[in-house]
């Protein structure tokens, strides 16, 4: 939308300038106008002293802002821990965060800026797969390792050998939910409502559809919406006519909340299911009672009694208030994997860091133990959670 407005504006500006050229010639830019950019101090050319700078790109504003903010909080916490424990090679680790407004094109330019201007050692981000896919080729070309905390679309790490993730991938997540729906909930037929604009949603839909059919279930129909829509009544009316037992909505929390409400208004009482894209406190605010009883596949459950998880939760609560969602946990894990790799690496060059991240094995993350496989994806179990009384409640763990 913004780009339409901008291009309309640009066209207008060009047209007007064209008309006014005779009277007011365009002045060449004065040197003073360009100066501030060049005058910016080059960030630490002597690479062996001072703080170690890493970069993060996140959706701090825009449609998936809650994801970006949680992830940033998680990363901040991890760096605080690491710096309190002496930092890396005796130096403090600092993160530069850029907002991408939940848009792939902004994510790409933020990544370029981190690498070329701020000279970061590695890049953390993004949550949404569409944004990570825009960032990955830039990191790969510049030989700067990138760790995505929670992009689950498989093609993200296929962009090259510098791209990693600390979460499981969609084929596994889709399989988990299809299996749970078919074997535990005993659904015979389901319908799917997917977001055609998101790589994450399209990928999950594909896997769920195939796996559910393989297990003997039937997908009655797939309806679609586009990110940014706020009226889903036409699609939901079509789904209601199919009379499915379950409705799989592999979208993001901000859309899902509204979808659930409008579904219940239309009298569609079907049990809803989703993925880790649902995981945000905002879901309960937006969806209210409408999402009660729904099931999601996710990375971790805050109910996990292990001291490591509980310790993380209490630290997070103390600093930011509120229970960390899985995005915060994965942000924390991604930063810790990066810090460990930097500690082990002989130097902080891209190739050296890449090799060390690839060697990550049995790393105890708060959202499960992380081992990188040959495709640079983390192999770890998923949990199934149910919405009960406005909270996610743990119901099952599914191992790969």
């Amino acid at each position: 939308m913004r780009s339409i407005l901008l291009s309309a504006f640009a066209a207008l500006a060009v047209a007007t300038l064209g008309c006014e050229k005779k009277t007011a010639p365009v002045e060449p830019p004065k040197p003073a106008d360009v100066k501030p950019l060049e005058g910016k101090p080059a960030p630490a050319p002597a690479a062996d002293t001072g703080d170690i700078i890493i970069g993060e790109v996140g959706s701090l504003t825009g449609s998936e802002a809650a994801f970006g903010i949680s992830t940033r909080n998680g990363i901040e916490l991890a760096l605080e821990d690491a710096n309190a424990a002496g930092g890396v090679k005796g130096r403090k680790v600092k993160v530069i965060v850029y907002d991408d407004q939940s848009k792939p094109e902004e994510a790409a330019s933020a990544t370029t800026r981190l690498i070329t201007q701020d000279k970061v050692k590695l890049v953390l981000g993004e949550v949404a797969s569409s944004n990570s896919l825009a960032m990955a080729p830039i990191c790969q070309d510049n030989k700067i390792p990138m760790i995505s905390p929670s992009s689950t679309n498989p093609s993200v790490t296929e962009k090259g050998d510098y791209i990693f993730r600390v979460c499981f991938i969609d084929p596994f997540q889709g399989f988990v939910m299809a299996k749970y729906a078919r074997e535990e909930l005993k659904f015979k037929n389901v319908a799917i409502l997917k977001d055609v604009k998101s790589a994450y949603s399209v990928g999950l839909t594909e896997v769920f559809e195939r796996k559910f059919a393989e297990m003997g279930g039937k997908v009655l129909g797939i309806e679609s919406y586009a990110k940014g829509d706020t009226d889903f009544r036409s699609q939901l009316t079509a789904i209601k006519k199919l009379k499915p037992e379950g409705l799989y909505v592999p979208g993001y929390y901000n859309d899902v909340g509204i979808i659930a409400r409008q579904a219940r208004e239309l009298g569609l009482k079907t049990v809803m299911m989703g993925g880790d894209g649902w995981d945000s406190e905002k879901l309960f605010e937006l969806g209210g009672k409408a999402i009660e009883g729904s099931f999601v596949s996710n990375h971790y459950s805050p109910e996990d009694p292990s001291p490591q998880v509980q310790n993380f939760i209490s630290k997070y609560k103390g600093k930011f208030g509120g229970v960390p969602d899985s995005l915060a946990a994965l942000g924390y894990d991604a930063a810790n994997v990066a810090i460990e790799a930097m500690k082990r690496a002989p130097d902080l060059s891209g190739p050296a860091l890449r090799d060390e991240i690839a060697k990550t094995k049995d790393f105890p993350g708060v959202a499960g133990t992380i081992s990188m496989n040959e495709k640079r994806d983390a192999v770890k179990p998923a949990v199934v959670l149910q919405v009960v009384d406005g909270k996610f409640k743990y119901v099952a763990t599914v191992k790969p």
Partner: protein, 317 residues
């Protein structure tokens, strides 16, 4: 047949909301020849004011006539005041500058509002925290009018449903549009507005308080936008700071289709756009909606560059 009727009703309901926003664009363009790109964002501000009022007045007043009136009135008044401020401090100082300057300022205000509202800012006064800026995440709009079906005919699979918000927004929008028409053609202020729109320099020579008329136009347009925004928020049950960009752009398209500067044209353009979108979503898929809506704009502009109801104006060079 049932499907067609249902889409017709949904399209008209959506169109009335666009129409209220489009009126603001068209009125400001009429008097100032300025495309006020910040108009959609003023609408968004109105929605957040409504959100705050609903939140402060408490859940027990939701669904009551007085409660709904309070939310609408406070939000519309706040928006009118806000429109006045923007006009006074952003546009008036630039009125004698080239038109492009005001246009760029409008875009600047639009960005400042839609991104400013994505910041989290709260102040702590006497132990309670007051949110000043709402932050980027979508919020559920309080159910001041609980959406439900007022009317349904036909059986389960073949039926036409009319929602309460559709009827309410249609009535409110129709009443406001009739009111606006009366204001423009039957009152002194309306006559002054039309005079300013014709030529503001000559109008000033004849003793019309141009500044006041322009400020009044902004206030009126902003209040209508606030009302439209609230109707939209009730329909879609959620609010977020970028909503103004999106609805604003659609309403702008509607105003251009109808012939920008023309009041009935804006309404017809908005209804046409609402119907067009609804039929596209209903019969093809929602991904086609924006492409078809903007394609429709291009078609209209190709066939009739001044818009459906616009007048061709000789341009003095």
């Amino acid at each position: 047949m049932y499907g067609f009727l249902q889409h017709l009703i949904n399209g008209l309901a959506a169109g009335t909301i666009y129409a209220l926003v489009a009126l603001g664009y068209t009125m400001v363009y009429g008097v100032l020849k300025l495309i006020n790109f910040a108009h959609g964002d003023v609408m968004m501000v109105g929605v957040y004011v409504g959100y705050a009022v609903a939140f402060l007045m408490g859940r027990e007043h939701f669904g009551t006539f007085a409660g709904v009136m309070l939310v609408f009135l406070v939000s519309m008044l706040a928006c009118a005041a806000f429109g006045l401020l923007i006009e006074r401090f952003a546009y008036r100082p630039l009125r004698e500058k080239p038109r492009l300057t005001s246009l760029i300022t409008a875009i600047g205000i639009s960005f400042a509002l839609s991104y400013g509202f994505q910041l989290d800012l709260a102040v702590n006064l006497g132990g309670t925290s007051y949110t000043l800026l709402p932050g980027a995440a979508s919020r559920a709009f309080p159910e001041i009018i609980v959406p439900n079906q007022w009317f349904e005919f036909g059986s389960d699979d073949q039926s036409v449903i009319i929602w309460n918000w559709q009827v309410i927004s249609f009535l409110i929008a129709a009443a406001l549009m009739v009111g606006l028409q009366l204001l423009v053609f039957k009152t002194r202020f309306g006559r002054a507005m039309r005079a300013v729109s014709f030529d503001h320099r000559v109008a000033a020579l004849l003793g019309i308080p141009v500044d006041r008329v322009i400020a009044g136009t902004f206030m009126l347009g902003s209040a209508l936008a606030a009302c439209a925004g609230l109707l939209y928020a009730i329909k879609d049950t959620s609010v977020q700071p970028l909503m103004g960009m999106y609805i604003g752009l659609k309403a702008f398209v509607a105003a251009v289709i109808g012939g920008i500067g023309n009041v009935p044209g804006a309404v017809v353009g908005a209804l046409a756009l609402g119907l067009c979108e609804e039929f596209v979503v209903g019969y093809t898929s929602s991904s086609w909606r924006d492409a078809v809506a903007f394609g429709f704009l291009i078609l209209v502009l190709l066939a009739k560059p001044e818009g459906l109801f616009g007048r061709v104006q000789a341009e003095k060079v």
